[in-house]
């Protein structure tokens, strides 16, 4: 499985406060010898650690515009989530022009592809007897389901990510040319998708740019000059729970804690009356992405202005373009059931000896993870700050 975290640790400003370690929903962060370590297998690129850090000790690792010179022809893909930040078509046109001025040959919006994928997702779920399908547009949700809610892994709709489909179309359009495709990203997970193609070595996007990284330069390029733009309304709806099609049989939820509880209920079979679960880990959906800067409550009101004057239909995509067969396979554990149970018991035996405060002072998120480290022989009980302090105190009293 090729999965990589885009979280980058910058030592200089890290205060070693362990806040990020506690913020991680998948226990992917730990501290070793004074440095934060990101477990590449466990990280689902949700960005919670980065947004929890008040010392700028962690960053999302995007590409830089330097890479533009490696290609003969460059295309920048703009997602609906960023377009929703514009108040009207004029502003969007100005934004597109300013992005182009960074050195791109072409700036394209992918709302037509996003709209087509969204419609396909509704089609799949309206024409099946399967209950509680999970919309597959968010890489964080897909990774979370696979790792933490494995019961539901076959519920994920088998369609590809819109940015991947759009990039493949662009590549086909410019066949034979040395084309560089850059995806402008609103969140860490989309960055990861383009930079480190997890589960899919043939990913079509060459580079991922974080919106916050390039925005200062884009801002300076805003000159009143505009590109002629129009968008697909269904594509713009794709990025926000409040704008999506509301139906009794669709469950729409946003925010990491909320979607975790929805997935937990779905595993108990309690949500089978719903056909489709549309889950956004980011509060207010993709327009609440960490790498955007607008207020997600204000931006969602822009949809009407952006599409009332003129708009374009959803892209006409073929079956092959949209569907993916094996994107969400989970790694098989090679150990036998009994071996796994034995390992669990070994860890539990160590856990009994630890204080159980889950204070993270040792560098591990919880006492259970510390117990695993001890069972693996990577740490000892003495590395537990609480136990060490208690022991020191006893020694002092004895003296």
């Amino acid at each position: 499985m090729m999965r990589k975290s885009v979280v980058r640790y910058t030592l200089e400003s890290c205060a070693k406060c362990m806040t990020c370690i506690r913020a991680c929903p998948t226990s992917a962060l730990s501290m070793y010898n004074g440095r934060i370590r990101v477990d590449q297998e466990r990280c689902i690129n949700c960005g919670k650690c980065i947004s929890s850090c008040t010392h700028k000790g962690l960053l999302a690792n995007g590409s830089s515009l330097e890479a533009l010179k490696d290609y003969d022809y460059t295309v920048c893909m703009v997602p609906g989530a960023l377009i929703n930040d514009c108040t009207d078509l004029d502003q969007a046109g100005e934004l597109f022009h300013a992005i182009k001025m960074l050195g791109f040959d072409e700036v394209v919006d992918i709302t037509d592809v996003e709209g087509a994928i969204l419609k396909e997702m509704y089609l799949i779920t309206d024409n099946t007897d399967e209950a509680a399908s999970i919309a597959s547009f968010c890489p964080v949700v897909n990774a979370l389901v696979r790792d933490t809610y494995p019961v539901l892994q076959n519920n994920i709709t088998p369609v590809k990510y819109p940015s991947e489909v759009a990039a493949a179309r662009i590549r086909k359009q410019h066949e034979g040319k040395n084309v560089g495709i850059f995806n402008l990203c609103e969140c860490e997970s989309k960055l990861a998708l383009a930079k480190h193609p997890f589960d899919n070595p043939e990913y079509e996007t060459d580079h991922a740019l974080a919106i916050v990284d390039i925005f200062p330069a884009v801002r300076r390029n805003m000159s009143g000059e505009r590109e002629d733009v129009c968008f697909c309304p269904d594509g713009l709806r794709f990025s926000n729970p409040a704008m999506m099609l509301q139906k009794d049989e669709y469950l729409i939820a946003d925010g990491f804690d909320k979607i975790s509880s929805v997935l937990n209920m779905a595993e108990f079979g309690l949500l089978n009356k719903f056909r489709l679960l549309q889950l956004f880990p980011c509060f207010n959906g993709c327009i609440g992405g960490h790498l955007l800067f607008g207020n997600s409550f204000l931006t969602r009101n822009n949809l009407h202005q952006l599409t009332s004057e003129k708009s374009k239909p959803a892209a006409d995509l073929s079956f092959e373009e949209m569907y993916s067969e094996d994107v969400f396979a989970r790694d098989e554990d090679s150990r036998s059931f009994m071996e796994r149970v034995e390992w669990f018991k070994t860890v539990n035996a160590q856990l009994e000896l630890l204080p159980g405060y889950d204070c993270s002072a040792c560098g591990m998120q919880t006492c259970r993870l510390m117990a695993e480290e001890i069972a693996e022989g990577r740490k000892t009980l003495r590395d537990c700050r609480v136990l060490a302090a208690m022991e020191d105190r006893r020694t002092d009293e004895d003296n």
């Binding site: 933490t148 937990n264 595993e267 108990f268 079979g269 059931f337 009994m338 018991k345």
Partner: protein
């Protein structure tokens, strides 16, 4: 069969706010051991249903999760009453005695016991006014 791993839980009487907590922990425990997901799905459904039954029909009770050395997962649900007067009726799909309070919260559709039996590999129930005990088992391989 001797047990190689055992976890005990308590379901507190009338603790509706805590509904599903035991099942969530059972699910997380078995998931971290790496139980294949089709089996995990069945255990999750049966465990949740049984836990909720203790809450809405009984005065709380005890839940035990045991993994046997025979590759079988055993679950025991025992409550202190009031017991099921007619087990045969209770096993009939759609039949329910749930209180109005429970129904208001979305429970009590009368599918509980039949469902639990359907998803388990073995199902055993005994009941008297002193309490009800349900024993379930699931083969892992």
């Amino acid at each position: 069969m001797s047990s190689i791993l055992r976890k005990d839980y308590v379901v507190v009487r009338d603790d509706y706010a805590g509904a599903g907590r035991v099942s969530s922990d059972v699910k997380a425990t078995l998931s971290s051991i790496g139980i294949p997901s089709p089996i995990l799905r069945r255990i999750a459904v049966a465990c949740y249903e049984s836990e909720i039954n203790m809450l809405i029909h009984a005065y709380g009770g005890d839940i035990t999760l045991e993994i046997g050395d025979d590759n079988v997962i055993h679950m025991t649900f025992s409550d202190p009453g009031p017991g099921i007067p007619d087990i045969e009726k209770a096993m009939t799909p759609g039949w329910s005695t749930a209180s109005d309070k429970a129904r208001e919260m979305g429970f009590g559709a009368g599918m509980g016991l039949p469902n639990i039996k359907r998803v388990s590999d073995e199902f055993d129930i005994t009941s008297s006014p002193e309490g009800t005990t349900i024993q379930l088992s699931f083969r892992v391989t």
